[in-house]
């Protein structure tokens, strides 16, 4: 298989893969919002309530997930 063919396959499959990922992301965003598992819109408030004395929208210590 010469380099051009390889290039074409690589291009095609990775693009297809990314398109699938992007669409499943759309699906994830809107279904999570609908089912109420996650409210994405509340993150918009991070910009509005940004004084250092404001309560964070999602506190980092509340959850046990480490930030890494």
């Amino acid at each position: 298989m010469d380099i051009a063919t390889f290039q074409a396959y690589g291009y095609f499959f990775f693009t297809a893969f990314l398109v699938v990922v992007l669409y499943s992301y759309v699906y994830h965003l809107y279904s999570a919002q609908k089912k109420g598992t996650r409210d994405y819109e509340k993150y918009g408030n991070i910009a509005l309530h940004d004084e250092i004395t404001d309560q964070p929208i999602e506190e980092i210590s509340k959850n046990d997930e480490i930030k890494k």
Binding site: I3, A4, F6, Q7, G10, Y11, F14, L18, Y25, H28, L29, A32, R38, E65, K67, K68
Partner: protein, 230 residues
């Protein structure tokens, strides 16, 4: 899975990088070996020509002049045969330019002479009435940097195997050799030989005197470069 990513700055950064690097990998890398093959008749630059190319770059001539003839009738009528990839094999950096405030210079050596360039660089509007190109008087006084040009020749010969001192096939079947001196003194001597041929066609007495005394003004190197563009 998506939410997991949004909370992890490190993996998020990795994901962004993969997505943006992908296009570059596919687009650029595989084409490399093929595009750098010279076409028959393309020669590397001589010391003086390369010094002239440095003058061209130093004064950003490429800000206003392209060196890329596109395959349209109007362009081939005006500038000559359209550009081929291999013709640029020894151009580091490429000088295609992105704006044609002035005409293309890819094959200017085919239709302009030393004499024309001398007059034009001194006073463009006197040669081409209406020209908005500024005069480049200082090129007649500044000395060309032969040392750096020679250093670059040595570098490309060593690192990229540019064929100096080797026979290069020409379009008509004959062979030509571009010599590279084996010492800095030798490089100066051969550049001066070339410069004398050009200065003989020039009128500026200061330039003639300088070349006779063994120094090469920038304008001589630049004209050597422009004449080599064919």
């Amino acid at each position: 899975m998506f939410h997991w990513l949004e909370k992890r700055p490190f993996f998020f950064a990795v994901a962004v990088f993969v997505v943006i690097a992908f296009a570059g990998l596919i687009e650029i890398l595989p084409n490399f070996a093929q595009a750098s093959q010279p076409v028959v008749g393309t020669k590397p630059y001589s010391t003086l020509e390369l010094a002239g190319r440095h003058v061209y770059i130093k004064n950003s001539c490429n800000a206003c002049h392209s060196q890329l003839i596109r395959p349209f009738k109007s362009e081939t009528d005006r500038y000559g045969h359209y550009s081929l990839s291999g013709e640029y094999a020894y151009d580091r950096p490429f000088l295609w330019g992105s704006k044609r405030t002035g005409p293309d210079l890819m094959r200017v050596g085919n239709y302009r002479t030393t004499d024309w360039h001398e007059n034009h660089m001194k006073d463009p509007a006197a040669v081409v009435p209406g020209s908005i190109m500024p005069a480049y008087g200082w090129m007649f006084k500044n000395t060309a940097d032969i040392d750096t040009a020679y250093a670059e020749q040595l570098t490309v010969q060593k690192v990229f195997a540019v064929p100096y001192n080797k026979e290069i096939p020409l379009a008509d079947g004959s062979k030509a050799t571009v010599a590279l001196a084996d010492s800095l003194e030798g490089a100066h001597a051969s550049a001066l030989e070339e410069a004398k041929v050009i200065a003989a066609d020039m009128k500026d007495q200061d330039v003639k005197d300088a070349v006779a005394a063994g120094t090469i003004p920038e304008i001589v190197a630049l004209i050597a470069y422009l004449n080599s563009l064919k």
